[in-house]
Symmetry: C2
Subunit: 386 residues, 2 copies
């Protein structure tokens, strides 16, 4: 999205130096102080836990943020979910990517091979037919001149989430053997990601769900090693669970992503100590303008379904107090304002229900410090879904 002279309000939401009041709305806003604190906090968490941090870039899809995570945030590299997403970030300078997902469609495998010739890249697999296809693709690339190309492939197990992943134990071991035996592939370890556990609000119930996941990962790792195969990497975990997997002694790498921003749903995910998980601060907001005050107690803002993902609940109003976001339509958000605080043209700060798909709706992060726009960061891989 490079334009020779992008116009604020038409092509870009703001220019660096603008006051917050001049930002075209709805806009995706990063509170830089909170963001930087979150990046440093996760670096410290990982160091304390003795695990590597491989930050998940699916949350932000931003080359600027990926670089911040790697350069000062303690990350050894990033995760992506999609080939096109990874390529967009590799082109922007990222050098080490785990595609924490299966890559199956022929065009996606072809893209994966393209990335592997430019950066360190690993991928997950849960099916022997897919392992064979990946191997054929690497060997075909070698035949076409990509000498010595090797693709690192991790066994993904379903450790309890009920989505992708082969069964732990024997099936996983068979897959590890298939990867190890496949020309052009290198066995890269084990992925066990329990996505469903991330958002269990109660810390005791969450730990219980993760206990089985950690046991499955440990048993599978041990079975792979007992067969004489390497399994130095056990990767997984997210913002809601990293403290538990990270302390397990089983996981060597954590894949948290949402910690950089947080969202309204993660604010409900409690720490055993009673705070919000990990002590992260809300750093992501959608700034909206009141565009109609049609009736007492009701105001309408300009941020609806195309500016905010609602799959994990409606946004929460951070400012002003006493106002709630009652209903989302495509381009409108209806606000309940019982005390009549909102006037036409005023702004509201919204906390998205779910950060990842909200960021994917926008082209730009408006990075703000002390009420002024400090930078505009592109959402580098926005819309790169394939």
């Amino acid at each position: 999205m490079q334009l020779s002279s992008p116009e604020p309000g038409l092509d870009i939401p703001a220019r660096p130096g603008d006051p917050l009041s001049a930002v075209a709305t709805p806009a995706l806003v990063i509170d830089l102080d909170a963001f930087e604190a979150n990046v440093a906090r996760m670096r410290d968490h990982a160091a304390r836990l003795g695990v590597r941090l491989r930050a998940h870039a699916k949350t932000h899809k931003s080359a600027d943020i990926a670089q911040a995570q790697v350069q000062g945030g303690g990350a050894v590299g990033i995760c992506c979910q999609k080939v096109s997403e990874a390529m967009a970030l590799v082109r922007a300078g990222v050098r080490d990517v785990l595609i924490a997902n299966e890559v199956v469609a022929p065009r996606a495998i072809a893209g994966l091979i393209r990335i592997a010739t430019r950066a360190r890249v690993a991928v997950c697999a849960d099916n022997p037919d897919n392992v064979a296809a990946l191997s054929r693709a690497v060997m075909a690339a070698r035949a076409e001149g990509a000498e010595g190309l090797e693709l690192e492939v991790l066994v993904e197990i379903d450790s309890g989430a009920g989505r992708c992943g082969c069964a732990p134990g024997a099936a996983a071991l068979a897959l590890a053997r298939a990867i190890d035996a496949a020309p052009g592939l290198r066995l890269g370890g084990l992925q066990a990601y329990h996505g469903a556990a991330q958002h269990i609000y109660d810390p005791v119930a969450r730990a219980a769900a993760l206990a089985g996941s950690i046991r499955a990962a440990a048993e599978t790792r041990d079975a792979i090693r007992a067969a004489g195969l390497p399994c130095d990497r056990v990767t997984g975990a997210g913002t809601g669970s990293f403290a538990i997997e990270g302390a397990s002694g089983v996981y060597t790498e954590i894949q948290a992503g949402s910690y950089v921003f947080m969202d309204a749903d993660y604010a409900r995910v409690a720490d055993p100590a009673g705070g919000v998980t990990g002590g992260f601060r809300q750093a992501l907001f959608v700034l909206a303008t009141v565009m109609s005050t049609p009736a007492t107690g009701r105001a309408v803002c300009d941020a609806g379904l195309k500016a905010l993902a609602v799959d994990s609940g409606l946004p929460v109003v951070a400012e002003p107090a006493g106002v709630t976001y009652a209903e989302a339509s495509d381009e409108h958000g209806t606000l309940a304002d019982p005390a009549g605080r909102l006037a036409l043209g005023e702004t509201v700060m919204l906390v998205p229900g779910h950060c990842d798909p909200t960021c994917n709706l926008h082209d730009w992060y408006v990075c703000v410090r002390r009420g002024r726009v400090e930078a505009l960061w592109p959402v580098t891989a926005r819309g790169r879904v394939f």
Copy 2:
């Protein structure tokens, strides 16, 4: 999103001429035969009803589709919801736009004035302070050289949807007077759009909800005219309601948008005759690939929340039969496949629950006829939310 050499699977989902099997997934697919039939059918509906069609481009955000609607589809122009959306389409050649929404934020008003110097543009208002701000902006532009610039402003009433719009009757008349008296503005008529009625599945209940809306529009129009002000345009209506408002004798212009594509929710909106509303065909799909078959009865495809909007329900599986879309996560769709029909790498055709926000997730329409990609159309105004 122009690239010197976009790569299929990394930058674009396909190239013209590709078979459907080579399209990188998830991809937003248009069935061109169904799309063209829908465009022609709405042209004929509008002619039969004796109303102007002003197709709503918020659905598709595509310059190619807007041109098809204007050039062969009987549309007098288009609607947009946002200033940046309208500007993207005007730059691509659209010449007549109604922003069927309020424009309030200062940067949005500045953008609106920019558009008004390049194309025929009208906008809605529901608040006298906003009318004054629009007037000031036009007069400032005149002072800076935009000689004779005039902005057409419509009174928007809340005819029952409970979102934006001033009250019908006296409040609307006062606003019409304010627009008429404001330097640089021209009173453009009345907007009465009952968004909440579009998706009432039962045709009798829908007609009942619209009866009050039509009455409010008629009474307000009459009040404006009785005051000696012009009200030649009464605009509103959508795909779920155009047949009723169009036949009312009150509306002169219908704003339907979804008819070009349809979606899983509109398939539930019944005609009085028992068919689907308007006789439109499903023309929009998301093509996805089975990326994991981890357990009997379960498959996982590569289209999740970032490829499909779920605010109006989960997608419906068009092909193959016997499969349902059970759960969406960010990059995955979990499919229930009780008969075990799906193999790894097979494709599924999904009908999105809600077309507008689904299109807004993608950069490209993959236009298909008889199993082959005929064209790639950019989603011109994708992400233009401000």
